[in-house]
């Protein structure tokens, strides 16, 4: 599996990742550290308490890290949660709907991590 194929499998944006890191080698090096970044774990943990400040912080962190990895869809999904809890913004969806979005983000994250692990192991 090539790196480009990995990005297709995990629904990432290969071109964007290369644009950010300039070299495929560097993209590979950075995404290998992504599973240990802890951004999803922090977000899921915040989702259990549904603390608005914590939700905003962790979603914001996940959005930023994923954007820099070229995981645009994952970044956008975290961004939706982030905007929902941004201080000053009115809530537009219920906690249950948030939980559904968190599950969606978690599934996308797992698929991404699995893909990265598979790429690493070959």
């Amino acid at each position: 599996m090539t790196l480009q194929e990995l990005y297709q499998i995990i629904d990432g944006n290969y071109d964007h990742a290369v644009q950010i890191m300039r070299m495929e080698k560097l993209v590979a090096r950075y995404i290998s550290r992504f599973p240990k970044s802890g951004v999803n774990e922090a977000l899921q943990e915040a989702g259990r308490s549904m603390d608005p400040a914590r939700m905003f912080e962790t979603a914001h962190a996940m959005k930023g890290v994923c954007a820099n990895m070229g995981f645009d869809k994952l970044s956008a999904a975290a961004g939706e949660i982030c905007e929902e809890f941004r201080p000053g913004n009115a809530r537009s969806i219920s906690d249950d709907e948030i939980r559904a979005k968190l599950a969606e983000v978690d599934a996308m994250y797992r698929r991404t991590v699995e893909g990265i692990n598979a790429y690493e192991q070959q």
Binding site: H16, Q19, M21, G64
Partner: protein, 566 residues
């Protein structure tokens, strides 16, 4: 050009970002061009800024972070004197956050994700450049001793005030310290610096909350561009502050003021204020001088004379006149010698008074130009009359204090004697009494040397200076020339006559003859003759005359001598 590695060193950048991956990606973008430091949150970032405050060029700051977020960092840095000079670029993707960060003092922002490396590097580079430029300007803008502006920036800002705030009529004020170099010499430079700092503080305090600005223009000279209704009170305030600071050493301030008008540039105003301040020098009337038009005209006139001196010498505009000195103990009085006096026939200004140009050239170190001219003319005249009439009439010329200390003086005078084949005893030198007051020791040595060559020294204006009876006895002189003030009122005031008698007694004690200057009437002449004065110079015998007119006196003297013989 000096090349310093310190100037061209790699700049240090701090990345404050809680997400390790983001931090590292940013580091990867920057590390080819910069030395990169990292911090995981705002508190760590501030600690790192403090530790590297001298070397850190810029901070890239994430806004959303645990412990201390980016906004809190910006607020803290804004209030921190030690850190506020370090520029901060915020890392954000939010428009609202950008605005808030800029309002809190952020220099710029970089959007996430970090996909535009060139833009990131360009922004970082530009902000560093701007910040260093600003720091350089800020360092150059202020005088490190007083914290006031430096001269160049001061004039730039003064000009801006004049250009953009035309309704503000700002005055130019120049302040300096009387004999500041002596204050430094006697009390040390550190003491002098403390005085300047104190004065700078007081000026800053005085101008606080006003539109006024100030600078230390040079050494002990301060310029203020301000508005004030009572400059006397302003000077008193500064003087009092300096007095409180320096109780042991007396410090005197001088102030010159030129009122602002719409049509004068700050440069012109300060030239005038400085002139006014210089007029205070040596004045016993007070230490504040307001510039007026009369002062301006006098200044222009002086400058014109200074400018025209070279051409005047070339075109021989200076004329030498001769005023006779008569031996009044002979019957009838006999022509003994004459004093060479300079007149300036300016082609446009007419006859310029020696009272105008001699002190001016003395003050500006140019009197030797005129005196050298007069000496040459006088020496040539002695030779000419000797050849024409077979009669040597000694002439006296003036020797300024500055010339006495000219190492080439002896050579110049001896060359003249050689050139015109005249004797040193026929070329007398007049030195004013006041010249003996400063550095008397060196002056006495030079005069002593000249006397050894045979030059006779006449002490000019005796009685107008401050020679004590003690010092006068040790001065090397051959003739005393009594100041004309003693003669002028001798007929009305018997005390003046007593003073004349005293001077004649002193001269008798010293064993030198006296020349009385400014004698105009026969009564004055008689009194002096009866009192035993040897020589007289003044309108009673003749006003100063051009050489051709003076010759009539010589002819008359020759004829009188013939008559005496026959």
């Amino acid at each position: 050009m000096i090349q310093s590695t310190a100037i061209h060193r790699r700049r240090q950048v701090l990345v404050v970002e809680d997400q390790e991956l983001n931090r590292d990606i940013l580091g990867m973008i920057l590390e080819d061009d910069y030395d990169v430091l990292y911090a995981e949150n705002g508190a760590e970032g501030v600690a790192c800024m403090r530790e590297h405050r001298e070397t850190l060029s810029i901070v890239l700051l994430d806004l959303m972070m645990p412990v201390m977020n980016g906004f809190e960092v910006l607020e803290l840095v804004r209030e921190d004197e030690e850190l506020r000079h370090i520029p901060i670029i915020v890392l954000t993707a939010e428009k609202k956050a950008e605005l808030k960060a800029l309002q809190l003092g952020a220099a710029d922002f970089i959007t996430k994700p970090f996909d535009m490396h060139e833009i990131i590097l360009a922004r970082v580079g530009r902000i560093i450049e701007l910040s260093e430029g600003r720091r350089l300007i800020s360092a150059a803008e202020r005088d490190p001793l007083t914290g006031l502006y430096n001269r160049g920036f001061f004039f730039e800002y003064a000009d801006q005030i004049r250009r953009y705030y035309r309704d503000l009529r700002m005055d130019a004020v120049v302040i300096n310290i009387e004999r500041f170099h002596s204050v430094n010499d006697f009390n040390g430079r550190e003491f002098g610096d403390r005085i300047l700092r104190r004065l700078g503080e007081e000026i800053r305090g005085c101008l606080a909350g006003t539109e006024g600005i100030a600078c230390r223009a040079e050494a002990d000279q301060f310029f203020l561009f301000c508005q004030c209704t009572d400059y006397r009170a302003m000077l008193d305030r500064f003087q009092q502050s300096v007095n409180e600071f320096s109780k042991r050493v007396a410090i005197r301030l001088r102030m010159g003021v030129c009122f602002g008008t719409g049509d004068r540039t700050p440069g012109m105003l300060f030239d005038r204020a400085r002139t006014a301040c210089n007029m205070v020098r040596g004045s016993y009337k007070g230490h504040l001088m307001i510039y007026d038009e009369e002062m301006h005209e006098r200044e222009l006139y002086s400058q014109r004379l200074l400018n025209d001196l070279g051409q005047a010498i070339e075109e021989r505009q200076f004329a030498v006149y001769y005023q006779p000195k008569y031996d009044i103990q002979c019957h009838p009085p006999r022509l003994n010698s004459a004093e060479a006096l300079v007149r300036w026939k300016h082609p446009e200004l007419g006859l310029v008074s020696p009272g105008d140009f001699i002190p001016l050239f003395e003050k500006n170190g140019l009197i030797h130009v005129v005196d050298n001219y007069v000496w040459g003319e006088a020496a040539s005249q002695i030779a000419e009359w000797r050849s024409k009439y077979g009669f040597t009439l000694p002439l006296s010329v003036n020797l300024s204090r500055m010339e006495v200390f000219d190492p080439t003086l002896e050579r110049t005078l001896l060359q003249l004697l050689e050139q015109y084949k005249i004797s040193s005893k026929d070329f007398k030198l007049e030195v004013t009494e006041s010249a003996y007051t400063d550095d008397a020791e060196q002056l006495v040595a030079v005069i002593g040397q000249l006397r050894e060559y045979g030059f006779e020294i006449e002490m000019d204006d005796f009685g107008s200076g401050y020679s004590s009876l003690n010092t006068i006895s040790s001065l090397p002189i051959d003739v005393l020339k009594m100041d004309m003030k003693f003669i002028q009122n001798v007929e009305e005031n018997s005390k003046n006559f007593r003073l004349i008698e005293l001077i004649l007694d002193i001269a008798g004690y010293l064993g030198v003859p006296v020349v009385a200057e400014g004698v105009q009437t026969s009564t004055q002449m008689q009194l002096l003759q009866n009192a035993g004065c040897e020589y007289v110079q003044g309108f009673y015998f003749s006003r100063p005359l051009p050489a051709e007119e003076f010759e009539k006196l010589i002819i008359k003297e020759i004829e009188a001598a013939k008559e005496r013989k026959s």
